[in-house]
């Protein structure tokens, strides 16, 4: 275990410093991932703070917690230090420039034009640090007629086609709710690519990532096939699956079991053995991939009936005994924290939170053999580390601090 309050990072980005001028989810997730990887991330907020701090409700869930902690904000700002500055005050911008001189990465997710108006666009910052990697998040990409359009996660899912990825084939869109997270992942990935280029070639650059591009990429393989074939994938319910071995079935206890075997001819005999229905192997309506495709409606109806005769645990046992099949239980979010596979791989870790006590946290899901990711620190209170950073990193004095506070530049 590498997780503990305020421990030292040991990840692959140890020694890198990131200025995180982001809010809501897209930007904050990307920089939290860099922090999980060991970078020193300084969250820069305006004096009224990241609006995510006030987000009272997410979906159906209340996000306010004891001691002024907000679950939404907490969930994507751990491992960061916090500084609060008024960027509309030239002295605030000057502090930012000094930070940039001592940093490797700057990330922002404001609407196009906002950074430039405040003097913190890429062209401004590279004057202060030509090697800076400038990560920029947007809804629709840096170019094009909608590049200025405001965006939140669902606008990205809508525009990219993602509202047609899940749900029954009933001509109504369904949301999945992953666009900010997917785009945050792509932004941290883009920044890593640019850090490598910086390390190897010695120059910085700007990296642009959007909801639209990221969501298109999240379903890249199928979108790629669609582009090559000029055809849309149709949504389907499990009752219409093209391959009955790439489908899921309800068991007698109401739990579901999913099968994921694309090579259906290879697995069909073992599957029938697991079902204890070897006579299906002789049935020429079902004895090849094409035959099963042709007769899928009646075969799925039959399989539905068979699976309803036993509990999921019984089916899991039978399928394991039958041989080398590829299947899985269908879990819900709250099943994950007690899943031994999740625990042993530290995909969820226990963290002793200063305000909340023992809590469970999702950790960046990559296992490094030498430089592990870690969960070290709760999300910063607004401006939590302003004084520390100004004094220790930027050589301001306590007198300067008092003056800056008096002028409303810092909190």
């Amino acid at each position: 275990m590498v997780n503990g309050s305020n421990g030292q990072p040991i990840g692959p980005l140890t020694g890198m410093r990131v200025i995180d001028w982001t809010m809501w989810q897209f930007g904050p997730v990307s920089t939290m991932m860099l922090a999980d990887l060991g970078a020193e991330v300084i969250k820069l907020e305006s004096l009224d703070g990241d609006h995510g701090r006030q987000f009272g409700r997410v979906g159906g869930v209340q996000s306010d917690m004891p001691e002024g902690v907000n679950a939404y904000f907490e969930g994507m700002n751990r491992n960061k230090k916090g500084i609060a500055l008024d960027l509309k005050n030239p002295r605030g911008v000057e502090i930012l420039y000094k930070l940039v001189e001592k940093s490797d990465v700057f990330v922002e997710n404001f609407r196009k034009g906002v950074a430039e108006r405040l003097g913190v666009g890429y062209d401004d910052l590279k004057k202060h640090n030509p090697e800076i990697v400038y990560g920029s998040a947007s809804g629709y990409g840096p170019e094009g007629p909608d590049s200025h359009k405001p965006a939140f996660a669902l606008t990205g899912e809508a525009r990219s086609g993602a509202l047609w990825w899940a749900g029954p084939n009933d001509n109504v869109p369904y949301q999945i709710g992953v666009a900010d997270q997917a785009a945050g992942i792509m932004l941290s990935y883009g920044v890593l690519g640019a850090i490598i280029a910086k390390e190897r070639y010695g120059y910085g650059q700007k990296v642009d990532v959007s909801h639209l591009g990221s969501m298109m990429w999240t379903r890249g393989m199928q979108n790629g096939i669609s582009m090559l074939q000029g055809q849309e994938f149709q949504r389907q319910s499990s009752r219409e699956a093209g391959n009955v071995l790439w489908n899921y079935y309800e068991c007698s206890d109401g739990e579901w079991i999913a099968f994921s075997m694309g090579q259906s001819d290879r697995y069909w005999p073992i599957f029938c053995k697991g079902l204890n229905r070897l006579e299906l192997l002789e049935d020429d309506r079902y004895n090849s991939m094409d035959a099963r495709y042709e007769n899928r409606a009646e075969l799925i109806a039959l399989l539905d009936e068979i699976f309803k005769t036993r509990t999921r645990v019984e089916w899991e046992k039978r399928m394991l005994e039958a041989g080398d099949l590829i299947f899985e239980r269908v879990q819900r979010t709250l099943d994950l924290a007690s899943d031994p596979q999740v625990i042993e791989n530290e995909y969820i870790v226990d963290f002793d939170h200063a305000a909340l006590g023992k809590t469970k946290w999702l950790q960046t899901p990559v296992t490094f053999s030498k430089t592990p990711v870690s969960t070290r620190k709760m999300a910063p209170a607004q401006g939590e580390n302003t004084e520390e950073l100004l004094i220790e990193l930027l050589d301001y004095s306590w007198d300067d601090i008092a003056e800056l506070q008096g002028q409303g530049v810092i909190l």
């Binding site: 393989m221 994938f233 590829i326 969820i348 990559v366």
Partner: protein, 415 residues
């Protein structure tokens, strides 16, 4: 345009050599992303090839292309060279070991134990090249009781919670997010893990193993929801209900032309008055049922009914024009993926790009989604035919001779 159709790559990984011993989608997409970023990726296949070459049907779409090409394989293996080697022979292993000496990255997505059995596990390769990054993809992670179990796309969605979270409220049957997303996010995370390890190699002087799994990547894709559920001590965010939303101004509505529109106002108080007025629902602005955000939650179905009735009076384009005339509303058109090709925003940012494929001619492909100002990523070459570059790599890179090539072929080591 990025460097499409040119064999010269331009991305941030230019000069990095990646050995790609992967098949199906999870591994291959991760290495094709490295290829997009300019790395020199060599796909290593057994003599009977990546099983993905033979996948005839993805969901209900056929995958066959002219010239015996396959859309599934082409999509997941662009920007790679190909070498076909029999890893069950000692000479075959020697070829891999020689390549490892000068490689920066090795990636594999076979079941736990397979690489070790063939003599190309992390410990063996780390001894040959201690600075090499070894990326490993699995279904359930390197540790735990199920670490050796096989897994395909749907397994990760099922176990990781994605399937249930995409299931509409009141629907009993799990809703699978269209196939491939689980593999794709696994691939994205694996590629990211390798990139971070390359940074550590440069800054800390170490090579290491990086593991990513279907289970972890799917959990991470739902990261916020899972984290919040854990922090709140076990409250599931639940799925989404269009007709009874928590926030009617962040919801889906159908326009007159049956085009759906997604509203996304997370600060609804800020937009309430102007939005309702523009929708012709000004009389509801001060309706006591909708006075506060919480009251609008309580009366969600009534509000959705009013907005449903308003939206069907105009087409999407008509609403779009009104919304753009001086308002700052946050919304998007709900599109299908074949509409993306004509979306000016997609075109302007080159998110879909045209690639001149030597066998099938000009084709459109989903481009790498990140835009680098100095080192553009892109599509530099098509997927290799099985063993297409075996001779070139053995002779140019590993100093084998044409006589050696003939011997190896006779011994069944290469094609």
């Amino acid at each position: 345009m990025v460097g499409n159709g040119s064999v010269e790559s331009t991305g941030p990984l230019k000069g990095i050599r990646v050995l790609d011993w992967t098949m199906w989608q999870f591994g291959p997409v991760s290495t094709s992303m490295m290829g997009d970023m300019g790395a020199d990726v060599i796909k290593i296949e057994a003599l009977d090839g990546d099983a993905g070459r033979a996948l005839r049907r993805a969901s209900k779409l056929g995958t066959g292309l002219p010239g015996d090409r396959n859309a599934y394989f082409e999509t997941t293996n662009r920007n790679k060279k190909g070498i076909a080697v029999n890893l069950k022979t000692q000479q075959g292993k020697d070829i891999i070991y020689k390549m490892v000496e000068t490689a920066d990255v090795f990636v594999q997505n076979f079941r736990q134990g397979v690489a070790e059995r063939l003599g190309i596990g992390y410990d063996t390769l780390h001894e040959i090249n201690p600075l090499m990054v070894y990326g490993s993809a699995s279904g359930y992670g390197p540790n735990g009781p199920d670490s050796a179990l096989p897994s395909f796309d749907g397994c990760g969605q099922a176990r990781g919670g994605l399937m249930m979270s995409a299931t509409p409220v009141g629907v009993k049957e799990p809703s699978r997010v269209s196939g491939g997303v689980s593999d794709q996010i696994g691939a994205i995370m694996l590629c990211q893990g390798v990139l971070a390890a390359l940074v550590a190699r440069h800054t800390q002087g170490i090579g290491q193993k990086v593991d990513t799994s279907h289970l972890s990547a799917n959990m991470w894709l739902l990261g916020l929801g899972i984290s919040m559920a854990m922090i709140m001590g076990g409250v599931d965010m639940g799925a989404y209900e269009r007709k009874n939303p928590r926030n009617a101004l962040a919801n889906l509505y159908m326009c007159k032309d049956e085009r759906w529109i997604q509203l996304m106002h997370l600060q609804p108080d800020r937009y309430w008055e102007s939005f309702m007025t523009v929708m012709g629902l000004g009389h509801l602005v001060n309706d006591p049922r909708f006075a506060t955000m919480d009251m609008r939650n309580d009366h969600g179905p009534e509000l959705v009914e009013a907005l449903d009735a308003a939206f069907v009076t105009k087409t999407f384009d008509e609403w779009d024009k009104i919304f753009r005339s001086g308002y700052d509303f946050i919304y998007a058109k709900v599109q299908g993926i074949t509409e993306l090709v004509d979306d000016p925003q997609v075109i302007s940012n080159d998110y879909i790009t045209t690639f001149d494929h030597p066998t099938i001619g000009p084709v459109q492909m989903c481009n790498h989604p990140n835009i680098y100002s100095e080192t553009p990523s892109g599509i530099f070459r098509e997927a290799p035919e099985l063993g297409q570059h075996t001779e070139e790599i053995l002779i140019d890179e590993l100093d084998y001779t044409w006589d050696d090539i003939n011997d190896l072929r006779d011994a069944g080591v290469i094609l």
